[in-house]
Symmetry: C2
Subunit: 601 residues, 2 copies
């Protein structure tokens, strides 16, 4: 796999520096030791490791799923080597403090690094991301003693981590979790219960596996408020941080997935022999709150995974379309004329440009969200931090779901560009498509994200968050109108109008939800999609305006900038234009589905 297929580095640089002004982050005290050169060095290092350790076994681990041999779940040696290379490269602690062994990188840069691993191999990199999320939770809410015992081995990759939330009867419904935690005399807890879909739940990669488990303590209230968070290692860890004996965490089964096959997915049984011991993290009853603390970054991670699968798929399709010769252009009936490269066919060009819009649009969305996380954490102005937190909360359901849906659509087009070959496992686009299908499901399905957006986020703080986002859109509109480029000005006018429509549709829906939350939110999935297209159209206008400004300054990148302008035009004249009847559907409160009785289906 050549460099070019993982990412278009000029594009990443453009987004980070020309669009998102990430170099300015180095002015913040937390990032004072950094500058663009150190950011780029981190990305270069990630690129090298991703190419060297992750990409080569992506197909191999898809074809050779982890297997249970009766004792343990066996993975390919290359997976463990990759995870250790990732840890040794410092990426598990990329954003952590220096004194904790971290690189103290901005989230924007850290996510850019991680993007490369995702593009190279989503299956193997998932072990790393789960471990990082696990360590982040322990760092944020664990006791000093827990941090001292668990963080070093997690951050150097000797132990790996999981997040064990879901149970067989409570997939999207956290309040219905039934695992229990009974207090023991020594302050620890006896854990008992079944968990399902636990990624990385069992394997032979590391010396130990640290599960973070949501469970209920006795006499806890029903529902989400009764959940607490526990550290439950596969093998017990004594007070000196040494791994001792088995902790009664049993593999109840492996789950075989459509894609993401390199990541083992497990059913786990905790405390079958009443010998599973967990340690409480923080306070009882706070488990879900702790988990939610990490939710934004987890959901950005899902969006970024979907994005990078779309991105590398697009790069593969582009390379193929430039090489593959077939057919002739319409109007040429001479069969003795040589076939053209398929990129010359209008429909192939359309499929490539659409993929570019989806993949690069999604990347701008995810990086923008990461940039908001940095502002939320390190902006010098407290009011700005608060405002940024609201913006981020509003955008998160879109960051999670838009790349999952349209990234998959991009992968579908990448297959189509390859024709029959794209349907075979001999070409990587086939795997990208299967891998990407997961992203509409985990970390909250589309349906869950849609309800989060409409019923919680769109109206929060009396609509302040929406208004702030709208203002940012109008700022971009203003810049585009003053660019002197009439195409940009025309798109700016379209965007201004589209967002006014979105504002009005949102108001209508919020009123409807207040009157009746069930019928009012019945079309939330359409709203989620519509909102997403409006956000991505804004980011495309932003990208195009930035590209237009650079065009005169850096003519050697002229093709690249013209590509951004062309993609923006395409997105506006097709994708955004096609959304207009959705406003009508939503404002009319379309109810046919809700009124359809079960027996009629």
């Amino acid at each position: 796999m050549t460099t070019d297929l993982l990412i278009h580095r000029e594009d990443l640089d453009f987004l980070l520096y020309d669009v998102l002004d990430s170099a300015a982050l180095a002015q913040r005290p937390r990032y004072a030791d950094h500058n663009r050169a150190t950011f780029d060095a981190a990305i270069d290092a990630a690129h090298r490791l991703a190419s060297q350790y992750f990409a080569p076994h992506n197909r191999i681990s898809d074809e050779n799923e982890p297997q249970f041999d009766g004792q343990t779940v066996k993975t390919l040696p290359a997976v463990g080597e990759a995870v250790r290379a990732f840890a040794q490269g410092g990426f598990l602690a990329a954003t952590h403090d220096y004194e904790l062994g971290g690189m103290q990188l901005p989230v924007t840069i850290s996510q850019s690094c991680l993007a490369l691993f995702r593009a190279a191999n989503v299956g193997s990199s998932a072990y790393c991301f789960l471990t990082a999320a696990n360590a982040n939770l322990i760092r944020a809410f664990g006791s000093d003693e827990q941090k001292w015992r668990f963080l070093p081995p997690l951050l150097d990759g000797r132990w790996l981590g999981t997040m064990a939330l879901t149970e067989p009867d409570a997939g999207s419904s956290v309040p219905d979790l039934r695992s229990t935690a009974m207090p023991l005399p020594d302050g620890r807890y006896a854990i008992k219960g079944q968990k399902i879909f636990i990624s990385g739940g069992d394997h032979d990669i590391s010396e130990n596996i640290v599960h973070l488990v949501l469970a209920k303590t006795p006499s806890a209230p029903a529902g989400a408020k009764g959940l607490s968070l526990f550290i439950v290692p596969k093998r017990r860890v004594d007070m000196d941080g040494k791994v001792t004996d088995s902790n009664d965490v049993a593999l109840a089964g492996l789950i075989h997935k459509m894609g993401y096959r390199g990541t083992t997915s497990t059913m786990l049984s905790f405390g079958e022999n009443d010998a599973c011991i967990g340690e409480l993290v923080g306070e009882t009853g706070q488990g879900l709150r702790y988990m939610f603390h990490m939710m934004n970054e987890a959901r950005i991670g899902v969006g970024m995974g979907a994005t990078m699968l779309a991105y590398t798929g697009y790069r593969h399709a582009l390379a193929y379309a430039k090489e593959r010769r077939q057919g002739r252009l319409p109007g040429n009936g001479d069969p003795s004329s040589p076939p053209v490269t398929i990129i010359e066919h209008a429909d192939v060009r359309r499929m490539l440009l659409t993929q570019k819009c989806y993949a690069e649009g999604a990347l701008s969305l995810c990086l923008y969200a990461a940039r908001l996380v940095d502002d939320e954490k390190t902006h010098p102005d407290a009011a700005q931090r608060e405002q940024t937190a609201q913006l981020l909360a509003l955008l998160i359901p879109i960051v999670k779901s838009w790349p999952a849906r349209y990234g998959l659509a991009a992968n579908d087009l990448a297959i189509q560009v390859h024709g029959g070959y794209g349907y075979t496992r001999e070409y990587p686009v086939e795997q990208f498509y299967r891998d990407n299908r997961l992203n509409a499901i985990h970390e909250g399905t589309h349906g869950i994200q849609a309800l989060d957006l409409l019923n919680r986020k769109a109206g929060m703080k009396e609509g302040q968050a929406f208004a702030r986002l709208h203002q940012r859109v109008l700022d971009t509109v203003g810049r585009a109108k003053h660019s002197g480029n009439p195409d940009l000005a025309e798109n700016a006018t379209k965007l201004e109008h589209a967002w006014q429509e979105l504002h009005e549709t949102t108001q209508t829906l919020l009123r409807a939800v207040r009157v009746d939350p069930i019928s009012g939110s019945a079309n939330a999935a359409y709203y989620l999609d519509l909102f997403g297209h409006h956000v991505v159209a804004w980011l495309w206008l932003w990208q195009a305006t930035a590209a237009d400004a650079q065009l005169a300054k850096r003519p050697h990148l002229g093709d690249f900038y013209r590509g951004k302008l062309a993609a923006c035009d395409w997105f506006f004249s097709t994708e955004l234009a096609l959304t207009s009847p959705v406003h009508v559907l939503l404002r009319q409160g379309e109810q046919h589905a809700l009124r359809t009785e079960v027996e009629w289906l």
Copy 2:
């Protein structure tokens, strides 16, 4: 797998008899021995065989692809048993004359029978369909002696057949085929060349495999006109019809696909040792014409395959949604209240109703096309036969592509209804989705179908075919307006308007194609999709009007008929309504993709 999951038999009966008036076919001389009872008996038999021989190993053959053991390609014994049961049931010759051992069934009924095998197992049934297509070609164009030698063993399943068109450098571009056929002194030909993506190209199911191969004779003109069709068996067949020695057809490799894994897909090498002998079918230079003779039914077959995957996927999702309990309705914050079945959630209801619209809409489309084939062949009026042929030609690109695209979308929703379970190979919806992804590619990709529709079919015979289809739509509109049901009348008005728009858009595009075929057809893919939605909206209004008429007569099927009315309303108020801006895009002659230079991508 219960009956209900393969097909909703009331729905099939409704489409066949209440909508398409298929019982009337028995009045035609060819079908004079038939009546509704014999039609139903054939469908019942197909249902039994599909359930007994095909469904049980659908997942097993997905998980155990055919393997080359160095000598032959090994398949599961269940595959051969299923193929033989299909043949012994008479389904290979379902539409053939009685005197050739056929059942002389109408195509509409035969396709209904085959639909059940497709729903049960697309992988294994493909061997049957390829063999039937192969035998149909030999029956139509072979010499009496070829028919005598090849048809009996093909029709009783002792030998299986393939269609060997595609070559590595000429996927969608038939004129670039390079395989050659050199005349031998005895009137036969020496065949030489490589073929790729040959389904059923090698296996251990049957005693022999009869390939139908497109190849060029010496001094044949360049392009499609130079192609001839040859019978090339894997093992030679002597003049008495006995299988003799090997015919120098070598397996060059197996192709490993995303889905459809039960059907082996091969690269074949003909005449590596200059010892591959073929027999000309019919006349030289007519190969492509012969193939095209079968193209309509082959493309209906692809549409039907896509449809039945969507259909069975919907039935699985529906059954799951009625059983699975999870979460509570919006507005209910009481975690101690019992979870509801997920079909109560508005978004799940939406996903089910959308699947119903796609699956049942696609089934009506494919059966309508089959009904046209019957009229084309057996209508007593010659002018009607000719008109029907035109209608069919116009609709074929839609019959091939609409179910492939929206059937896949239905399967995507079936997964989503299942949540995390839907992404696992433990649930059948995962396989349906992978299987269905093929259908946008084989028998002409979406892009090829789009060009066929716009550049050939939409304007053919000075627009007569379009006008005839439009008139049939207006007939349905008239019936709906006079039904006395105001909802139907409202949808009828919408449809009338939508078709007027489609007519105008078509005129605009045809003018643009005449001026410049390249830019004029640049958005053909959007047109194909738009046209498809207009056709399916028509068929939904037709179904709804028929259901409305039955509602009073058969109140015990009230839920079923109300479901048809609800699906029609939903299709009109969402799917059809959302297409309106596509007319604008097409009439404006959107050219951004075409103007995007290769270097900008």
